[in-house]
C-alpha cells in the first residue's frame, strides 16, 4: 500500500515536471497549440490538489500503522508479515502464499510474527496467534487478556454448603461428636455453609476471608468469622508473613476447612485437645521455606489464644466452667499468656508416584483454670500418598494420614481456689486414616481414633472421657464441586469413675456443593 502511494506520488511529481518542460513546446497531449494560460493554471491546480490528497492519504495510512503497532505492542523491527490483510482476518483458514498443500504458518492461531516461506504446507498461521512478541522480554510478561477485555479479577468468591443426615443410637449426638462442624443432632444438619473470599490486595499482599454460617439444633443461624487474614506475596528469602484471624498450622487437619476433610466428622484428638472449633485466633505468623534440596518449611505463629477457639488455652469454657473448674477470665499479663505455635514440615519423594510428608507441631500458652496455669501441646503427623502415573482426575490414589498429639494441661483450682485439687493432666491421642480412590470420583476410607484422657478423681466431665472410634466411609465426587458421602461410625465409650462404658453406632449421609471459584488443591 505504502509503496503504491509512493509510486503514485512519484509519477505525479514526474508528470508535473514533464508538464513544465513540455509547456514551451507544443506537446501532443495538448492538441490545441493555443492552450490558454488559464487552462494550464487549472491543470496545475488539479495536480496540486491531487498531490495534497495523496499526502493526506499517506499521512492517514502512517497514523493507522502506528496505531495498529501500538495495539499489538509490535516493535517496528519485527519481520513484516507478507499478507497483513489475510492475517488480520478472524477466519481460521490458513493463509496460503504458494500453491499450498499444507500450511506451515497460521496467523489465525499464533500472533507472534513467524517468517513465512514458500513451502507447500504453510508453516505460519496468523489466525492462530494474536499478539506479536517483541525481542525484549517485556511483552511476554504483560497480563494476558485472552477473552478480550472485561477480565477483571479483584477477588474470587465461593460458597460451600455442607449438610449431613444423621442417625445414631445415641440420642445426644452433640455430646458424642467432638467437632463443631460435625453432625449435632439426629436428622438433618447444616453445620458448615461458608463464604470464602480471596484475591490479590495489591502487589505486596493477598487477602483471604472465610465466613461460616451454621444452624444450631433449633435452626437458629450462627455466624463465625473463621478466618480473615492478609499475607505477603513478595518477601525475599522464601519468607511469608501472615496477619489476622487464621487457623494454626498445627498438624494436617487443624488448618483445613471441613469441606476438605475426608470424613464427615473431626477426629477425636482434634476435637478434644485442640478444640471443637480447631485452634485458631487473631495473631501473626511467619513461614520460611528452608533452602535445602528437599521440601522443608518452618512456621511460627503467635496468637492471643483466648476464647473457645483456643480451647486448651485461655478459654473461659462453657458457662464459666472448664474441666469442672470455675475459670478465671485471664487478661494477658505476660508474653507467655499468648499462644505460640511452631511447626516444621519436611517432604520427600519415595518414587515418582509416592510422596511422604512428615511434620511436628507445638502449641504453648496459659490456661484459665488458675492464675498461673499453663498448657503445652505437641503433635506429630505423617502423610503418605501414592498416585497412579496414569491418574485421571487425580484417581486412582492411596493416601495414609496419621496424627498423634500429646497435651500437658495444668488444671488449677479455678476461681477463688474453689476446686478441691490442682492436677496436671497428661492426655494423648491419635488417629490414622487410609483413603483409597479406587475409581475416578470414588473414594473408600477407613479411620481409627483413640483418645486417652488422664483420669481425674474429681470430675465427671464427659469431655475428659477416654474413648475410641472406628469409621468407614464411601464418597462419590460427581465432580470436584459436589460430593455425596456415606459414613458409619462405631464409638467405644470407655468407663471412668462416673460414666459406664457403652457402644454407639452412627450413620451419616453427607452432601456438599461448591459454587464459585474453586481453591486449588493443597497437598
Amino acid at each position: 500500500m505504502k509503496k503504491f502511494i509512493f509510486v503514485v506520488l512519484a509519477s505525479g511529481a514526474l508528470a508535473i515536471d514533464g508538464a513544465k518542460g513540455a509547456e514551451p513546446a507544443a506537446s501532443p497531449a495538448a492538441p490545441s497549440p493555443a492552450a490558454s494560460a488559464a487552462e494550464v493554471e487549472a491543470l496545475r491546480q488539479q495536480v496540486q490538489s491531487l498531490t495534497e490528497l495523496v499526502q493526506t492519504l499517506q499521512k492517514q495510512v502512517k497514523e493507522q500503522q502506528a496505531a495498529s503497532e501500538k495495539n499489538n505492542s509490535n516493535p517496528p523491527a519485527l519481520p513484516q508479515n507478507p499478507e497483513p490483510e489475510t492475517a488480520a482476518g478472524p477466519s481460521p483458514s490458513p493463509a496460503a502464499s504458494a500453491p499450498p498443500l499444507f500450511p506451515t504458518t497460521d496467523n489465525a492461531v499464533v500472533t507472534s510474527a513467524v517468517n513465512a516461506n514458500g513451502t507447500l504446507f504453510p508453516t505460519t498461521d496468523a489466525s492462530v496467534t494474536t499478539v506479536s512478541s517483541s525481542e525484549t522480554g517485556s511483552s511476554l510478561t504483560q497480563p494476558i487478556t485472552l477473552t478480550g477485555g472485561g477480565n477483571k479479577n479483584y477477588m474470587n468468591i465461593s460458597f460451600d454448603g455442607l449438610f449431613a443426615l444423621a442417625a445414631s443410637s445415641e440420642r445426644h449426638l452433640d455430646r458424642l461428636e467432638v467437632g463443631d462442624h460435625d453432625p449435632q443432632q439426629r436428622g438433618f444438619n447444616a453445620r458448615n455453609a461458608e463464604i470464602a473470599i480471596d484475591g490479590a490486595v495489591d502487589p505486596y499482599f493477598e487477602g483471604f476471608a472465610n465466613i461460616v454460617l451454621k444452624l444450631d439444633n433449633n435452626n437458629a443461624t450462627q455466624i463465625e468469622l473463621e478466618e480473615a487474614f492478609l499475607q505477603t506475596t513478595s518477601l525475599p528469602y522464601g519468607l511469608q508473613v501472615k496477619g489476622g484471624q487464621f487457623f494454626d498450622a498445627f498438624g494436617r487437619i487443624n488448618p483445613t476447612h471441613p469441606h476438605t476433610w475426608e470424613f464427615a466428622d473431626s477426629p477425636l484428638v482434634n476435637g478434644r485437645l485442640l478444640g471443637p472449633d480447631g485452634l485458631r485466633g487473631v495473631g501473626a505468623q511467619i513461614a520460611w521455606t528452608v533452602p535445602v534440596p528437599w521440601y522443608s518449611q518452618v512456621i511460627f505463629a503467635v496468637q492471643n489464644g483466648r476464647g473457645g477457639t483456643a480451647y486448651s488455652f485461655r478459654n473461659p469454657g462453657d458457662g464459666g466452667l472448664f474441666y469442672s473448674r470455675m475459670t478465671i477470665d485471664r487478661e494477658a499479663s505476660a508474653l507467655r499468656d499468648l499462644v505460640f505455635v511452631p511447626r516444621v514440615e519436611n517432604s520427600f519423594n519415595l518414587s515418582d508416584t509416592q510422596t511422604v510428608l512428615v511434620g511436628a507441631s507445638g502449641a504453648f500458652g496459659s490456661n484459665d483454670t488458675g492464675p498461673n496455669t499453663h498448657t503445652q501441646i505437641y503433635g506429630a503427623d505423617l502423610l503418605y500418598k501414592w498416585k497412579s502415573p496414569r491418574a485421571e482426575g487425580g484417581f486412582p490414589f492411596v493416601k495414609w494420614q496419621t496424627e498423634a498429639m500429646y497435651r500437658r494441661f495444668e488444671a488449677g483450682r479455678g476461681l477463688d481456689d474453689a476446686f478441691p485439687v490442682a492436677e496436671t493432666f497428661r492426655d494423648w491421642g491419635m488417629y490414622s486414616q487410609v483413603l483409597w480412590g479406587f475409581k475416578k470420583g470414588w473414594v473408600a476410607g477407613v479411620r481409627g481414633d483413640y483418645l486417652h484422657m488422664a483420669p481425674s478423681l474429681f470430675t465427671d466431665d464427659d469431655m475428659r472421657q477416654t474413648r475410641s472410634r472406628i469409621s468407614v466411609n464411601l464418597t462419590w465426587y460427581p465432580t470436584e464441586f459436589s460430593k455425596l458421602r456415606l459414613q458409619y461410625n462405631h464409638d467405644f465409650l470407655e468407663e471412668n469413675a462416673f460414666l459406664a462404658s457403652r457402644d454407639v453406632d452412627s450413620v451419616f449421609f453427607q452432601f456438599e456443593f461448591i459454587l464459585g471459584a474453586h481453591g486449588a488443591h493443597k497437598f
Partner: protein, 299 residues
C-alpha cells in the same frame, strides 16, 4: 595470602560457572520438551507433571515447591489447565523471579488465539475453561510460537547465550516447517473426516490438519462417559462413518474399545505429551507418532 585469595576466587568462579545453567521448570511435558530444545546444554529443565497423567489434576507435591523456589524460568500454559495445582505451589515457592510480569515467567498461551472460548461459562457444561481450550500445543504452528517465546525469555535472562537460544529456535522452526509438509501430506487424504476423542483435547490438532475431532466419549468435559451417552456416540459414529477413536494414556481405554467394536472403528493411542507414548521423547517425535498412527487407523 594473595595466592589463597586467587585460588578462592578461582574456586568461586568455577562454582559459579557450574551453576550458570538456567534452572527451568515446565509445568507440563510438552512445554518441557520445547524448553529443552531451545535451551540445549545451557539449561536444566524440570517437568512437574508426568506425561501419562491427567494434566488437570496433578498433585501439588511439596518437592515441586523446592523446584519452583530455585527456578530462573517457569513455563506454564497460562490458560487455566494447571489452575487446580499450580497456584498453591507458587504461593509456597515465593520466588519473585517467576512471577507473572517477570521475564522468567513464560505463559505459553500468550499470543495464542485460543479456540472454543465459551461465551457463557457455566459449570453445568462440565469442566469448561473460561479462557478457551487449553490444549493448544497439539498444533505445531502454535508450538513454534511457544518456542519463540521461550527463546526470548531465555535470552532476556541469559543474554550471553542469546545467540545460541536463537539458533536453537531457528533450528526447531526449520524442523517443524519441514515436518509440517510430511504431516500435512500424510493426513491430507483424510481431510474433513470426523474423529471421536475421549476428551476435547484435540481441536487444535484437528484444525491444523483439517479433521473434525468434535465427538467425545465424555458427555461433558471431565464427566465420565455414561451408557446412554455412549449409545448416542455410537449412533453418531455410524452416521458419520467414523474410523478412529482417540484415547490418552489416563483415559479408560475399555470404553473406547466398546464404542470401537460397536462401529468397526479403531482405537488410537494419543498423548498430548512427549513421553506419554513409547518412542515419543520429543515434541516432533510425538507429532510424528500421532500422525503416523492416525493415518494408519484411517486408511
Amino acid at each position: 595470602m594473595k595466592k589463597i585469595l586467587l585460588i578462592l576466587s578461582v574456586i568461586c568462579a568455577s562454582a559459579f560457572a557450574a551453576q550458570a545453567k538456567l534452572n527451568v521448570v515446565a509445568t507440563l511435558p510438552d512445554f518441557g520438551s520445547i524448553a529443552k530444545e531451545i535451551g540445549g546444554d545451557k539449561v536444566e529443565v524440570t517437568v512437574l507433571a508426568k506425561p501419562t497423567e491427567d494434566p488437570h489434576f496433578v498433585d501439588a507435591r511439596p518437592s515441586f515447591v523446592v523446584q519452583l523456589r530455585t527456578a530462573d524460568v517457569l513455563i506454564d500454559g497460562g490458560a487455566e489447565l494447571e489452575l487446580g495445582w499450580l497456584p498453591p505451589l507458587l504461593q509456597n515457592a515465593r520466588n519473585p523471579k517467576i512471577e507473572i510480569g517477570k521475564p522468567g515467567r513464560v505463559q505459553a498461551s500468550q499470543g495464542i488465539r485460543l479456540m472454543n472460548v465459551p461465551t457463557n461459562v457455566t459449570r453445568a457444561a462440565g469442566d469448561v475453561h473460561a479462557l478457551g481450550n487449553p490444549h493448544f500445543m497439539a498444533d505445531p504452528i502454535i508450538a513454534k510460537a511457544v518456542a519463540q517465546h521461550i527463546a526470548q525469555s531465555y535470552s532476556a535472562i541469559d543474554a550471553a547465550n542469546a545467540a545460541a537460544y536463537d539458533a536453537n529456535y531457528k533450528k526447531l522452526e526449520a524442523t517443524i516447517n519441514a515436518k509440517l509438509q510430511e504431516w500435512g501430506t500424510a493426513l491430507l487424504p483424510f481431510k474433513g473426516q470426523t474423529i471421536v476423542a475421549y476428551h476435547d483435547s484435540w481441536p487444535y490438532f484437528g484444525h491444523r490438519f483439517g479433521l473434525n475431532i468434535d465427538i467425545f466419549l465424555e458427555p461433558k468435559p471431565g464427566i465420565p462417559p455414561s451408557p446412554s451417552h455412549l449409545v448416542e456416540v455410537i449412533a453418531q459414529m455410524k452416521a458419520k462413518n467414523v474410523k478412529a477413536i482417540i484415547v490418552e494414556p489416563y483415559h479408560d481405554r475399555k470404553i473406547a474399545e466398546k464404542a470401537a467394536s460397536a462401529t468397526g472403528a479403531k482405537v488410537v493411542d494419543f498423548s498430548q505429551f512427549p513421553g506419554g507414548l513409547p518412542g515419543t521423547e520429543t515434541y516432533v517425535k510425538l507429532i510424528d507418532k500421532l500422525v503416523a498412527s492416525l493415518a494408519a487407523a484411517l486408511k
